[in-house]
């Protein structure tokens, strides 16, 4: 039973501008992904979800923490070991067109796999493998082989990339926003394909910012904010009974077909480490003391979820300079500590972080 284990992974970036300071893209994230399981990694921009995907794919090195696959630390791989790793762990990204080198034909992605992994395999057998992979993703070989990327639709491009992963003996697929650039009618096909593959035993890390998609397809959900997990557990429990205010905020903002946005009060919410508190009864704290118009409510939610995190500096001497940029409109900064809030079990299969 293959397992991908992410253990206390952190990634810090040194910010080039705005007075130094480290930007924490990931803060001690830990979870486990098992065979036949789909985990949705949900977060907004700046949450670190894409970074985590890249860390798992070893395209980015974490600042600390480990990722183990079947017990082996992926950072310790030799070049040969890394190649082996990619046999089992693959990725598909957001922009299908960009994943192809535009000057070559689309099926070159298959050739690249062959050169490294299937050198000695005779042509006929290889072609058979390709056909099987294309069949698994419901693509007609005649439609897609021999074509240039621009001659294929986004859905075909994306499915071809999944087929490429299937050529190997892939056990874990990191799917980073793979359908956000596809049309509504093709999205569903790719989603259903993921479900089908999952049933055949594939483990999928489904990275998305779209909660409804995450809900549709996953068994477990991890909600990421400012690089730290705020809530995670079985999808039904997380979406059915959200505990963390951030999760509730996210869910309240999701546009639904048959239900208008609700304007339920936010409840007492402490969302940033520098003591800033916004609560339903203090919503008058919005400048100008406006009442709770829908717009005000939405703006507050947006602002609270988009504060840019900067790691708190311990040194008192320069505290004035280092406490991150002044909280200005739009790009306010919230000082965070490297230590994310602790996760506590709310109910079996449902973990919630303390408010930061």
């Amino acid at each position: 039973m293959s397992t991908l284990k992410v253990d206390q992974v952190s990634k810090l970036y040194r910010a080039a501008s705005r007075g130094g300071g480290l930007t924490p893209a990931l803060r001690q994230v830990s979870f486990e992904l098992r065979q036949g399981e789909v985990i949705s990694l949900i977060g907004e921009s700046g949450s670190g979800k894409t970074t985590l995907g890249k860390v798992i794919l070893r395209l980015v090195r974490p600042t600390s923490g480990t990722v183990t696959f079947d017990g082996a630390d992926i950072a310790e791989y030799s070049p040969g070991g890394l190649r082996d790793y990619y046999r089992h762990v693959q990725g598909v990204f957001q922009d299908p067109f960009s994943s192809y080198n535009p000057i070559y034909r689309a099926d070159r992605v298959f050739e690249m796999v062959r050169e490294v992994y299937f050198r000695g395999v005779p042509r006929k057998e290889w072609n058979g493998k390709i056909e099987a992979a294309l069949d698994a993703v419901a693509l007609n070989p005649g439609d897609v082989l021999g074509k240039y990327p621009h001659q294929l639709s986004g859905g075909q491009q994306q499915r071809l990339l999944i087929a490429r992963a299937l050529l190997l003996d892939v056990k874990v697929l990191v799917a980073d926003e793979i359908i956000s650039m596809l049309d509504a009618s093709t999205r569903v096909d790719v989603l259903n394909l993921l479900v089908k593959l999952k049933r055949a035993g594939l483990a999928v890390l489904f990275i998305t910012h779209d909660l409804s998609l995450g809900n549709y397809v996953s068994d477990r959900t991890v909600i990421l904010r400012h690089g730290a997990i705020v809530e995670m557990g079985e999808t039904e429990k997380v979406f059915g009974n959200p505990q963390h205010d951030y999760t509730k905020m996210l869910l309240s903002a999701v546009p639904e077909l048959h239900k208008k946005w609700q304007h339920t009060p936010l409840g007492p919410v402490a969302v940033s480490g520098n003591g800033r508190v916004a609560a339903a009864d203090t919503i008058e704290s919005i400048p100008n003391g406006r009442g709770v118009t829908a717009l005000a409510h939405a703006s507050l939610v947006e602002q609270l979820t988009h504060e840019r995190p900067v790691v708190k500096r311990e040194r008192r001497v320069f505290s004035g300079v280092f406490h991150g940029p002044r909280a200005a409109s739009g790009s306010s900064a919230v000082a965070l500590s490297l230590e994310p809030p602790a996760l506590r079990e709310f109910e079996p299969g449902h973990l919630v972080a303390e408010t930061e």
Partner: protein, 323 residues
């Protein structure tokens, strides 16, 4: 009627000849109505919306006319359109938030815009802008910032404020919520609603492929397919009781929170939209439609089958006639 589009056709030049992106489209918008214009890529919705405001050099109006507040809108004549932009009609183009000039502070940028449109009372307008910025929950110091200092959502909302600063009668918003986080989408959506409620803008055409957003902010929804209109009705009708097979398929393909694959399997639409360079005769959805029959080889008219509900589909027309 605030906006009236009659038999509008727009084509653009390509190496392979003229491509008709908008084919004989007619609809009307009432004062204060937010109409969603939905469709997939290649449907022509962007071309349609943009053509009403800014017909760029590659596009040509090949038929029909547009009326705004009773007067004809000369969309094919750039000279006449220029004074009307920002004042009577306005556009928030796709990728607008990436198109703000990076070396100009927002305040200066506004000044430039007002000057180029020869607005006489700039100081008053700037004061109004400050008021609106505060209205959407931002701080006034936004005016002193460069675009890169604002987050994507901020930029998008500032762009919308800029576009509606002079209270145009018609605002065309092209994919203003795409590529935004969910909370920002909501903030932008609520902003459009509020601005319409306060009269900062009279009517809005919101172009998007995301029906759920439209379900939140639009009064009516128009579905476009391969250059033609497929269906137009009030939001509740489109979402609750769509008649055109394409609309039905679209609605059936949307996941909702709380729905999982083991409860309800969603279905996509097989096939691809036809190429606009060489469109098939008759109904363009024919090849992908589960209900297609002989009559579909003729182009179905976009007609009112129920009060306020327009559909271009032979099957629907027949059923309505029978029932």
């Amino acid at each position: 009627m605030s906006v009236s589009v009659e038999n509008l056709s727009v084509a653009y030049r390509s190496r392979r000849g003229d491509v008709t992106a908008v084919d004989n489209v007619s609809f009307a918008l009432a004062d204060g109505e937010i109409m969603g214009l939905a469709g997939e890529s290649g449907s022509g919705k962007s071309t349609l919306g943009n053509a009403l405001i800014y017909l760029d050099a590659r596009m040509r109006q090949t038929g029909g006319k547009v009326t705004l507040d009773g007067r004809e809108l000369p969309i094919a004549d750039p000279k006449s359109m220029r004074p009307r932009r920002m004042t009577e009609v306005s556009l928030v183009p796709q990728y607008a938030m990436s198109a703000l000039p990076p070396t100009r502070k927002i305040g200066k940028l506004t000044g430039d815009l007002l000057t180029s449109h020869r607005v006489p009372n700039q100081a008053e307008v700037l004061t109004e802008m400050r008021r609106r910025i505060e209205l959407i929950g931002l701080r006034e110091d936004v005016l002193g910032k460069y675009p890169f200092e604002l987050s994507g959502g901020m930029r998008q909302r500032v762009t919308i404020i800029l576009s509606t600063l002079l209270n145009p009668s018609l605002l065309v918003a092209d994919e203003v919520t795409s590529a935004l986080d969910v909370s920002t989408q909501r903030a932008v959506g609520e902003m459009l609603l509020e601005f319409r409620d306060r009269g900062y803008v009279k009517s809005v055409i919101a172009i998007t492929h995301d029906l759920s957003i439209l379900a939140q902010i639009a009064d009516s929804i128009t579905i476009m397919y391969a250059g033609r209109l497929a269906e137009k009705a009030s939001t509740s009708t489109i979402v609750g009781n769509p008649l055109h097979p394409y609309t039905q398929a679209l609605i059936a393909s949307l996941p909702a929170v709380g729905v999982r694959y083991d409860q309800t399997m969603l279905t996509g639409i097989p096939g691809r939209p036809p190429s606009l360079a060489n469109p098939p005769a008759g109904c363009r959805f024919r090849d992908r439609c589960p209900f297609a029959f002989d009559k579909c080889q003729q182009t179905p008219p976009f007609e009112e089958v129920k009060p306020g509900h327009y559909v271009a589909c032979w099957k629907v027309s027949q059923e309505e006639q029978a029932g």
